[in-house]
């Protein structure tokens, strides 16, 4: 019995100390990690969507709290006018959460491009969603709020499926629809904040 108690006590103390230590480190590094994610994960996705902008969208960003979560919105200028906004939506893919950055033209409400940020899809199968031009291009030009169109062909939508990676393709569509949903609900706020960047 004594040995039993000793075993339980040792494991409990060890686990508690470990948990406390990790919680401390996690809170102290949170800000730097966020910065790094911005630079390495969201950055490339934003830049790939906004090709012809004259500003640095990573600099020109604002945040809106949606569903108790701070979300970053990246603003793109075309000919000195803030015209594009990009933000991220998440959905469950084949291997956990995947994030999709969606660029929207605020004048027309059309998608200008999408790019994957974080994902853990199977390399070589689901991960093709990152590079499959036919798939990525099929989002371009669709109104971001058109939830019935942002589905793969098999689901009566207008998005080109990725062969062998239907789960991933559907997840990307879901993430984009969520972005559309948020855009619809916060449209006026987003547009006001984007307009603030002019001049």
């Amino acid at each position: 019995m004594r040995e039993m108690i000793r075993m339980v006590a040792t494991l409990t103390i060890l686990a508690a100390v470990a948990g406390g230590l990790l919680a401390t480190v996690k809170t102290t590094t949170a800000e730097r990690i966020e910065q790094a994610v911005l630079e390495y994960v969201q950055g490339p996705a934003v830049m790939s969507i906004m090709e012809n902008v004259t500003n640095d969208p990573l600099e020109d960003r604002f945040a809106i709290e949606i569903d108790a979560e701070e979300r970053d919105f990246f603003v793109g200028m075309v000919d000195g006018v803030p015209k594009l906004v990009a933000f991220e939506g998440k959905a469950s893919g084949y291997g956990g959460d995947l994030g999709v950055m969606v660029g929207i033209n605020v004048e027309t409400g059309e998608i200008v491009g999408i790019g994957l940020t974080t994902h853990a899809e199977t390399p070589g199968v689901g991960s093709r969603a990152e590079t499959d031009i036919r798939f990525l291009q099929s989002f371009v030009g669709l109104p971001v709020v058109a939830a019935d169109k942002i589905r793969i062909g098999e689901d009566d939508g207008e998005i080109a499926n990725i062969g062998g990676a239907t789960v991933t393709a559907r997840a990307v569509c879901t993430a984009v629809r969520r972005v559309g949903n948020m855009y619809e609900n916060y449209e006026s706020e987003i547009k006001t904040k984007v307009a603030d960047f002019s001049g």
Partner: protein, 197 residues
């Protein structure tokens, strides 16, 4: 019988150099050594975990009940691994993206658990520190060499510098998964020849 601390340190560098002599921890050895930089990065991360866990296990060796020693080791190792993961995300995110899933997998790297079980739980603090450091550095060197061999043959350059001149035809096979086995096999063979004398 008792070896000096210097001997404990040195054995990890040649006599018992982990991937080649002990042939332990092969999963990351094969998976991340596509470039020299990745190999060294992975090696350093593993070294950190190995040294820290060896020190702690050695300090606690008289307080850990033998029947729950493995769960205790795993908690200690996992803590340091998550620590490395968080620090790497904060300060070397590029490397974190490259190594990805293999960082959390250090937890189950049998080299780390193996040293805790076979060495640190039976030895004093300083020898354990020396053992961890030696093994870790040996592991890093091995991964670096394997990475350099694969990268140079597979792409013709190391960290962006041409090593064989412009006329070299990259041997792409070497940076793919089967190339890892071949490169490791050849290096093992070379080690054995050199070790025989």
């Amino acid at each position: 019988m008792a070896k000096t601390i210097a001997q404990e340190f040195k054995k990890g560098l040649w006599d018992e150099i982990p991937p080649f002599r002990l042939v332990l921890g092969l999963c990351p050895v094969l998976a991340v050594t596509t470039t020299a930089e990745n190999g060294v990065g992975m090696g350093l991360a593993t070294t950190f975990v190995l040294v820290c866990s060896n020190m702690l296990v050695s300090l606690l060796r008289n307080n850990i009940p033998p029947r729950v020693r493995v769960p205790c080791f795993i908690i200690i190792i996992a803590t340091f691994v998550i620590l490395v993961e968080l620090l790497m995300q904060a300060f070397a995110y590029g490397l974190f993206l490259e190594l990805g899933i293999f960082i959390p997998l250090i937890v189950v790297n049998c080299l780390v658990l193996g040293r805790s079980e076979a060495f640190a739980s039976k030895n004093k603090f300083l020898p354990s520190l020396a053992d961890g450091l030696g093994m870790g550095i040996g592991f890093t060197i091995s991964l670096g060499i394997l990475g350099a061999v694969r990268e140079s043959l597979g792409t013709g350059m190391i960290s962006g510098i041409q090593v064989f001149g412009p006329s070299f035809e990259p041997f792409e096979f070497m940076v793919q998964a089967p190339g890892a086995f071949v490169a490791l096999g050849l290096l093992l063979c070379l080690m054995n020849i050199l070790g025989k004398k």
